[in-house]
Symmetry: C2
Amino acid sequence: MNEHIAPVALDRAYRLLNHGPTVLVSASHGGTDNVMAAAWACALDFSPPKVTVVLDKATRTRELVEQSGYFALQIPNLGQLELTYKAGTRSLHELPDKLAQCDIQLFRQEGFDTPLVAGCSAWLVCKLIPEPHNQATYDLFIGEVVAAWADDRVFRDGHWQFEQADSRWRSLHYIAGGHFYAIGDVAAVQEE
Amino acid sequence: MNEHIAPVALDRAYRLLNHGPTVLVSASHGGTDNVMAAAWACALDFSPPKVTVVLDKATRTRELVEQSGYFALQIPNLGQLELTYKAGTRSLHELPDKLAQCDIQLFRQEGFDTPLVAGCSAWLVCKLIPEPHNQATYDLFIGEVVAAWADDRVFRDGHWQFEQADSRWRSLHYIAGGHFYAIGDVAAVQEE
């Protein structure tokens, strides 16, 4: 295991998503693991922390989420730019070796069957809150975050440390057509 | 009117939100205008474009959205850092002159009653899609984007131009405690 992976208190887990990064969504069922990229993931509540994510009906990952009742969101970084793009543009339906083609290595944390993508900056394991109307009408899935971790080289003391970490740890923010932005400089307001 | 405000094609409106910026949410009803900041806004569909936004029950803006059936999301920028922070930490319930205290100036586009915040980088007017269960249970609101505009100094040809614009146009990405990041450098993958 990577000694830099540290638990994140659940009431601070929203901060991992608050700045709107593109995420990788992973899930597993019946021996099949998969990972896809998603730009449409968002925090939904502080405590207990909840998230939303949009999963298109064409994705294999969606099937695994519906079957297992669990998914993980993880925050990839600039060092995983190609991996993230490939994970978002290739489908396990067509490429049985998608994960290998994307250079994705998976690991699991003790007590959780949901696979996690090695090398990311943070991970949130989520239990699906079934909402059939949202899922069918909007492809919108809601999960409660049941565990979270971050790499302490880029997130510690409850805050991202992008300004102090190597630039390869910057989060990715996708637009379209292979065009991402990395997160940039800090802009702090003095609390009144 | 500002000659830099240009319409954005509806099927590209998702790109205004795709990189996860903190937004300002505005609404109006019965002669009352209000604006709040929100980090939890997200694209939900491409065409017709839809969005989600989380509006706490304590906010005056939520009442105006429920009463009018419309809201706008707009993308503030680094030049509006203090404005954005103030809009997210002060309530019209307690401060009748909140908008003046936040240095917010409003304008309206022809054909729409929803007020828009001057100086932002982009604006999306949304028609509420009533989903009472989501609104009551999760504070989650869904809207269909019915019109969108952007300032052509920072968004044109269907893409953000952060790398070519003055740094004051960078979008804001809130974490907590007055701690924002500005969007950073482009990271492009060659389409295969």
